[in-house]
C-alpha cells in the first residue's frame, strides 16, 4: 500500500502529464505482478466490489473521530469527498502497515462475507494502521469511486513504457471482460494470444470536434455520415455468441435482447462499430426513449415493443475473424455494405447512410437539416484512414450543429464535489411564465474557475433560503444556456427536458427581465422536439 500511496501522492502533486506517466511507468517497472494487475484494473474502471455501505463508514468515522454525525456530514459537505473527509477527521494512526495493495484489496473483499460488527472492527483496525494518504487510498477502494487524474489512456502509455509493448496492442489487451480474478498480469499483458477472449472488443476510434472544413482539402477525400445521438457500441459475433460493448467498456448484451439474433444473422468472426438507437421503423427516437432502455438490466415486453433498439453500423473492424483495422475506411465500408446487404430485412441492424456531397458547401447545407434527421450533426471521416486507437487528430471529425440557446435566470445554487468542493457550481435555471420564474433545467459546466469563484462569493452574500445543501438565491444573474435537444417531459414542472444543458456565457450585460419565457421554450419544443 505504501508504494501505491506514494504513486498516488506523486500523481496528485503534479499537473504534468509526463510526470504522471513517468511515475506510473516506474510503478509498473517495480511493483509485484499482483499489485500491477490491480492497479491496471483500478485505472480501467474494474474496481473491487463495495464491501461496506458508505452510511456505515460515516457512522464509524464520526465515532472514531469523537464527533457528532451531523458535524461529520457538514465537514463532508465542505471537503466534497467522502474518502478524504474520513481520512482527515480520524485521529492520527497509532500503528503502521507494510502490506501490499493486493493484500488490502483482498482484505476488503473478505469483509463482504463477514457481519457488520466484524467489518467495523476490521475497518477501524485498518484506519489505525494507515497514514492520511494511505487512508485516503484505502477509503477510495472501500467506497469504489477511484478517480485520481489518471485516464486509462495515460495508464496504458505508462504500461507501454514499462513493458516495451506497443501502446495500441496494450490498449486492445486491456479491453473487454477480464478482472484480476480471471487473469494474471502475465496472461493479460505478456501472453502470446491477445484475442483469446471471444468477447474482446477493439479500442474505439474517437473523433475530434471541428468548426472549419476548409483545412480538410478536397471533399472527395472524405466520407460524411450523420452523427447520431445514441450509444456508441461494438457488436461482436464470434463463435456463435453475440456481445455488445459500450464505449465505456460496459458489456450491454443483456440489455438489448432484440440484438441477440444477430449471432445467427451475422457471419462468425464479425465486429461492427456503430450507434445503438431506439428506432421507430424509419428514424431514431429521441435519446430520452433510449435512456429508458439503458437503465434497465432486464427489459419488460411492453418497453421492448415501444422502443426497439437497432444498431446503425458505420464501420467493420473484423470480418471472417480477421482484424481489418489497418484497411482503408472506404474498403472497410464496401465490405460492410456487402455483408449487411445479405441480412434479413427485419434484422435489428442497418448501415448508417452515407451523405453524398460534391463540395463542402453542400455538406454545410445538409448539416443544417441534421435536427430534422434526428441527428446531432455530421461525422467527417477520411476515406483512406485506418481505424485508429483512441482519439487521434486528423482522420475522424465530428461536425456538430450549433447548440440551441436560451437566456435564463439562476435561482438555486449548490456546491460541487471533488475539485469543485466548496465552490458553487451546480445551478438551477428558470424562465419567465408571466410574473413567475419557472425552473426548467440544471447546469454544471461552462464557466471558468474564476467565474465560479466570483459567482460563489455572490451566492454567499445573496442567499435567500437554504434547503439542505441547496441555496435559493436572489434572481439576478442571467446565463445563456446551450443545449443539444429539447423534449417534452411530464416529470418536469416546466413540461420540458433538455439534452446536454450547459452554461455558454454569463450574460452580465442582461437583467432578469431580459431572460427568455417558457412560451419561447415551447416554441423551440414544437420546432425541434
Amino acid at each position: 500500500m505504501k508504494r501505491f500511496a506514494a504513486l498516488f501522492t506523486v500523481i496528485d502533486q503534479t499537473t504534468r502529464t509526463s510526470a504522471k506517466v513517468a511515475a506510473l511507468a516506474d510503478y509498473f517497472a517495480t511493483a509485484p505482478d499482483e499489485d500491477k494487475l490491480w492497479t491496471i484494473a483500478i485505472f480501467s474502471g474494474r474496481r473491487p466490489k463495495r464491501a461496506v455501505t458508505t452510511t456505515r463508514l460515516r457512522d464509524w468515522a464520526a465515532e472514531a473521530a469523537g464527533i457528532s454525525l451531523w458535524l461529520f456530514e457538514d465537514a463532508y459537505a465542505v471537503v466534497g469527498d467522502l474518502a478524504e473527509t474520513i481520512a482527515l477527521v480520524l485521529p492520527p494512526a497509532t500503528g503502521s502497515a507494510d502490506d501490499s495493495l493486493s493484500f488490502w484489496i483482498n482484505h476488503l473483499r473478505d469483509l463482504g462475507d463477514s457481519d457488520d460488527e466484524a467489518r467495523k472492527v476490521a475497518v477501524l483496525a485498518a484506519w489505525d494502521r494507515l497514514d492520511t494518504t494511505e487512508r485516503l487510498v484505502f477509503n477510495k477502494l472501500l467506497t469504489g469511486g477511484f478517480r485520481m487524474g489518471v485516464s486509462q489512456k495515460l495508464m496504458t502509455r505508462a504500461l507501454a513504457q514499462a513493458t516495451g509493448q506497443p501502446e495500441a496492442e496494450l490498449a486492445h489487451r486491456l479491453m473487454g471482460n477480464w478482472s484480476p480474478d480471471t487473469t494474471s498480469f502475465a496472461t493479460l499483458i505478456e501472453a502470446d494470444d491477445p484475442a483469446a477472449d471471444l468477447s474482446r472488443p477493439y479500442p474505439f476510434c474517437l473523433a475530434h470536434g471541428i468548426d472549419d472544413l476548409d483545412a480538410l482539402g478536397p471533399v472527395t477525400d472524405w466520407q460524411a455520415e450523420w452523427k447520431w445521438d445514441g450509444i456508441r457500441a461494438q457488436v461482436i459475433a464470434r463463435g456463435g455468441a453475440l456481445h455488445v460493448w459500450s464505449r465505456g467498456e460496459e458489456l450491454m448484451t443483456d440489455r438489448f435482447p432484440e440484438l441477440a439474433r444477430l449471432a445467427g444473422d451475422l457471419p462468425g468472426g464479425t465486429v461492427l462499430d456503430g450507434e445503438l438507437v431506439a428506432w421507430d421503423g424509419t428514424a431514431p427516437l429521441p435519446f430520452a426513449a433510449l435512456q429508458k432502455r439503458i437503465t434497465r438490466k432486464t427489459v419488460p415486453k411492453k418497453l421492448l415493443a415501444e422502443t426497439p433498439v437497432i444498431l446503425l453500423a458505420y464501420d467493420l473492424l473484423e470480418a471472417g475473424g480477421a482484424d481489418l483495422r489497418a484497411t482503408p475506411l472506404q474498403d472497410r465500408r464496401t465490405a460492410m455494405d456487402r455483408m449487411l446487404a445479405s441480412l434479413p430485412p427485419d434484422a435489428p441492424l442497418r448501415p448508417s447512410p452515407l451523405i453524398a456531397a460534391t463540395d463542402w458547401d453542400s455538406l454545410r447545407a445538409q448539416r443544417g437539416t441534421a435536427r430534422q434527421m434526428k441527428a446531432e450533426g455530421l461525422m467527417i471521416k477520411r476515406l483512406s484512414s485506418p481505424y485508429q486507437v483512441g482519439r487521434k487528430r486528423g482522420d475522424w471529425w465530428k461536425w456538430k450543429l450549433d447548440p440551441l440557446t436560451v437566456d435564463a435566470v439562476m435561482i438555486y445554487a449548490q456546491a460541487g464535489h471533488g475539485r469543485r468542493a466548496n465552490l458553487f457550481t451546480d445551478f438551477t435555471f428558470a424562465v419567465w411564465q408571466g410574473n413567475d420564474l419557472v425552473p426548467f433545467t440544471k447546469a454544471y459546466s461552462g464557466l471558468t474557475d474564476a467565474e465560479f469563484g466570483q459567482i460563489t462569493r455572490w451566492v454567499r452574500q445573496n442567499t435567500l433560503q437554504r434547503f439542505g445543501p441547496v441555496r435559493q438565491v436572489t434572481p439576478h444573474h442571467v446565463f445563456e444556456i446551450a443545449f443539444e435537444g429539447i423534449q417534452e417531459s411530464p416529470r418536469h414542472k416546466s413540461g420540458i427536458a433538455l439534452r446536454f444543458p450547459r452554461m455558454l456565457r454569463w450574460r452580465q450585460d442582461k437583467t432578469v427581465d431580459q431572460a427568455d419565457t417558457l412560451d419561447h421554450l415551447r416554441e423551440m419544443l414544437a420546432q425541434y422536439g
Binding site: R16, F72, R419, R460, Q461
Partner: protein
C-alpha cells in the same frame, strides 16, 4: 443586565464604555487594531492603537496614519474601559485585545494560532468572561502537522527542484506567511529571491529586529537566469503570471491551511500544496477556547455556524457574530483568503 462590554455595530465591534472600536471596517474616530492584515487594519480611521511591533508594518501599508502604540501586557485606560494587548501568535506584532469594564472582561482574539512558529510572539491564553474568537479552520478536518515536518517537506521539494534545474516558486501572503516560510527555509539549498511586495515587508520587519535569512530582491534589472536552484517567495497572485514564467522552468508551491483539502489544492493549479497556516486548527481552537475559561463565546470569520453548533452541543454558551472579516458565511475562504 448591564450593557455588554462590546457590541456589534455596522462599523464594527464597539466598546461604549471606552468609545472605541476594535478592527472596524468603516472609518471611526478611534480604532484598536489586532494586526496589520487588510481585513482587520483598514484605512481612514482618525486614531489608531496597536502594538509597537505592529505599527511599522501598518504604517508601511496604510501610509501616514495617526496613532499610539502599546506594549504587550501593558494596560491602558480608555474612558471607563481598561485595555491591554496580548500575543496572538498569528503574525509579528499581532495581538488579542483584552477589554475590562467594571470587572467584566472580554477578549477579542483577532486571528491567532496556538503553535509557536519561532518568529512571532507566541500565543498567550487570556482568561475572560466573554471570548470573541475567529474560527477560520473550525472544522474537524483541519489538523496541522508540526511546522518542522512541513519545513522538511518544503526544503525537500526545493532541493529536488534545484537538482533538476528548476526554480522553485513558493506562493505565500506577503505579511506573515512569507516571513514564516523564510524562517523555515534551509538557505544551504540555494539562493532565496523575493518579490518586491514580500521584500518591502521583510525590510520593515528586519528593521525592528526580526531575524530572517538573506534574500535577493527581484528587480527588473535582476538577471533571472543567474540564480540556478533559487527559491522565490512571492504573493499568490503571481502564480501563472508572465512575471513568474520569465524565470524559466518552474515548480510552483502554495502554502496555506486550505491546502489540506485536495479539491482546493487541485484548483489552485500549483504543483505542490503545503499545509501550513497562521490560524489555529480545530484542536487549537478548542484548546484556546478552553484556556480562556470564558462563559460566553462569540464566533466570527470562518465556519461560524458549524463551529458554534458544535460548541453549544459541548455545553458552551456560543453565538455567531456576523463580522466583516473575510466573509460572514461559514464556507467562505479557500478561494478568497490568501492570508490563511
Amino acid at each position: 443586565m448591564a450593557t455588554p462590554v462590546l457590541t456589534l455595530t455596522d462599523r464594527g465591534l464597539y466598546c461604549a464604555a471606552g468609545d472605541f472600536f476594535i478592527d472596524p471596517w468603516r472609518p471611526v474616530d478611534r480604532a484598536l487594531i489586532t494586526h496589520a492584515h487588510a481585513d482587520h487594519a483598514r484605512p481612514g480611521h482618525r486614531r489608531y492603537l496597536c502594538t509597537d511591533a505592529c505599527m511599522p508594518v501598518m504604517r508601511h501599508r496604510l501610509g501616514d496614519i495617526t496613532g499610539d502604540t502599546i506594549r504587550y501586557g501593558e494596560t491602558r485606560r480608555i474612558g471607563d474601559a481598561t485595555v491591554s494587548f496580548h500575543p496572538a501568535g498569528h503574525v509579528p506584532g499581532s495581538a488579542q485585545i483584552r477589554v475590562e469594564v467594571a470587572g467584566e472582561v472580554w477578549v477579542v482574539s483577532g486571528d491567532y494560532k496556538t503553535e509557536p512558529d519561532g518568529l512571532c510572539e507566541p500565543y498567550e491564553p487570556v482568561r475572560c468572561h466573554s471570548f470573541i474568537s475567529e474560527c477560520t479552520f473550525g472544522l474537524p478536518v483541519f489538523r496541522w502537522q508540526p511546522q518542522t515536518i512541513v519545513a522538511a517537506q518544503i526544503n525537500a521539494w526545493w532541493a529536488e527542484n534545484a537538482a533538476q534545474g528548476r526554480v522553485s516558486l513558493l506562493a505565500a501572503y506577503s505579511l506573515g506567511k512569507a516571513q514564516r516560510l523564510l524562517h523555515l527555509l534551509d538557505p544551504a539549498i540555494g539562493p532565496i529571491l523575493t518579490h518586491a511586495a514580500v521584500e518591502n515587508t521583510n525590510a520593515v520587519l528586519r528593521a525592528q529586529g526580526l531575524a530572517l535569512p538573506d534574500t535577493i530582491r527581484i528587480t527588473p534589472e535582476l538577471d533571472r537566469k543567474a540564480h540556478p536552484g533559487a527559491l522565490i517567495v512571492a504573493p499568490p497572485a503571481v502564480l501563472g503570471s508572465p512575471w513568474a514564467r520569465r524565470f524559466g522552468p518552474l515548480s510552483t508551491g502554495f502554502a496555506s491551511g486550505w491546502m489540506q483539502m485536495r479539491g482546493v489544492r487541485r484548483r489552485r493549479a500549483a504543483d505542490r500544496g503545503f499545509v501550513i497556516s497562521d490560524h489555529a486548527d480545530w484542536a487549537g481552537l478548542l484548546e484556546a477556547i478552553k484556556a480562556t475559561g470564558a462563559e460566553s463565546l462569540y464566533l466570527t470569520h470562518g465556519y461560524t455556524e458549524i463551529f458554534t453548533r458544535h460548541l453549544r452541543e459541548s455545553g458552551h454558551d456560543a453565538h455567531v457574530l456576523a463580522t466583516e472579516y473575510g466573509g460572514e458565511d461559514g464556507d467562505d475562504g479557500p478561494d478568497t483568503g490568501d492570508a490563511a
